[in-house]
C-alpha cells in the first residue's frame, strides 16, 4: 500500500453526507405528510400544486429539500464509486462532473419552483 493516505474522502465530506441525510428525514416527514395525508387528493392536480407553492415557507422548504437531496445523493454515489478504488485522475474527473451536475440540477429545480409558482390562472 502507498505511504501517503489518499485524500479523496475526509471527515467533512462524510459529515455533510450524514447531516444532509438527517435533515432530509425531517423534511421528508413533512413532505410525505402534506402530499399523501393532508392534501385532500394528494396534491395531484396542477391547480393544487400551484396553490401549494404560493406559500413562501413551502417554497423555501421544497428548495432546501432539493438541495439536500442533490448533495446527499451525489456524495453517496461518489462514496460508492470510491469503493471501486478508481485512479486519482478518474476521481478528480468525477468530482468535477458531480459538482457541475449538482449545480445544474439545483438551479433547474429552483427555476422550476418559481416557474410553477408564477402559473396562477
Amino acid at each position: 500500500m502507498q505511504s501517503t493516505p489518499k485524500s479523496g474522502e475526509n471527515f467533512w465530506l462524510w459529515f455533510l453526507k450524514i447531516a444532509s441525510g438527517i435533515l432530509i428525514l425531517f423534511i421528508l416527514a413533512i413532505h410525505l405528510t402534506v402530499n399523501h395525508f393532508t392534501a385532500p387528493n394528494g396534491l395531484l392536480s396542477h391547480r393544487e400544486v400551484v396553490a401549494y407553492f404560493q406559500n413562501p415557507l413551502v417554497l423555501f422548504m421544497e428548495g432546501l429539500f432539493l438541495l439536500l437531496l442533490v448533495i446527499h445523493s451525489l456524495l453517496g454515489l461518489r462514496g460508492i464509486i470510491l469503493d471501486l478504488n478508481p485512479p486519482e485522475s478518474t476521481r478528480r474527473l468525477i468530482d468535477i462532473i458531480f459538482l457541475v451536475v449538482g449545480t445544474i440540477v439545483s438551479l433547474y429545480g429552483w427555476w422550476l419552483l418559481f416557474a410553477v409558482r408564477s402559473l396562477t390562472s
Partner: protein, 129 residues
C-alpha cells in the same frame, strides 16, 4: 501470478449475501435502496418539469400515473426511502459509537418499521383510487 488473483468478484461481492450475517443484509439493502432512490430522484425531477408546461401536460401525466403499475412503483420508492432513512438513523448512531453491540436489533427494527410503514401507505393509496 495472474492479475485477477485478488480472489474477489469486485463490486458483485457487495451484493452477494452467501454466508453473510444480518449486518451484511443491512448493507446490501442500504446500497440497493441508495441506487434506486438516486435514480428515482433524477427521474422525479425530470417528470416534474411537466408542471412548468402548464395544467394539461401535468394533469395528463397524473391521470396516466394512476395505473396500478405506477402505484406499485411508488410503493417501492416509499419502501426504499423508509428503509434507507431508518437504516440511516442506525448508521449515524453507530458512527458515534452508540448502540453498536445492538446493531442487529436496530436493523430488524428498521426493517419492521419499513414493512409497517409500507403497508400503511399501500392501504391508503389503493383505497384512495
Amino acid at each position: 501470478m495472474k492479475a485477477d488473483k485478488h480472489n474477489s468478484k469486485g463490486f458483485w461481492d457487495w451484493f452477494n449475501p452467501a454466508g453473510r450475517d444480518a449486518g451484511g443484509w443491512a448493507f446490501i439493502l442500504n446500497r440497493l435502496s441508495a441506487l434506486g432512490l438516486a435514480f428515482y430522484l433524477y427521474l422525479h425531477l425530470f417528470v416534474l418539469g411537466k408542471l412548468a408546461q402548464g395544467p394539461d401536460a401535468f394533469d395528463q401525466f397524473v391521470a396516466a400515473a394512476k395505473s396500478p403499475l405506477y402505484t406499485v412503483g411508488e410503493l417501492l420508492v416509499i419502501a426504499a426511502a423508509l428503509y434507507h432513512g431508518l437504516n440511516g438513523v442506525r448508521l449515524v448512531l453507530n458512527s458515534f459509537n452508540i448502540g453498536v453491540p445492538r446493531q442487529k436489533q436496530m436493523f430488524y427494527t428498521a426493517l419492521l418499521l419499513t414493512v409497517i410503514g409500507t403497508i400503511i401507505f399501500a392501504a391508503r393509496m389503493f383505497t384512495a383510487s
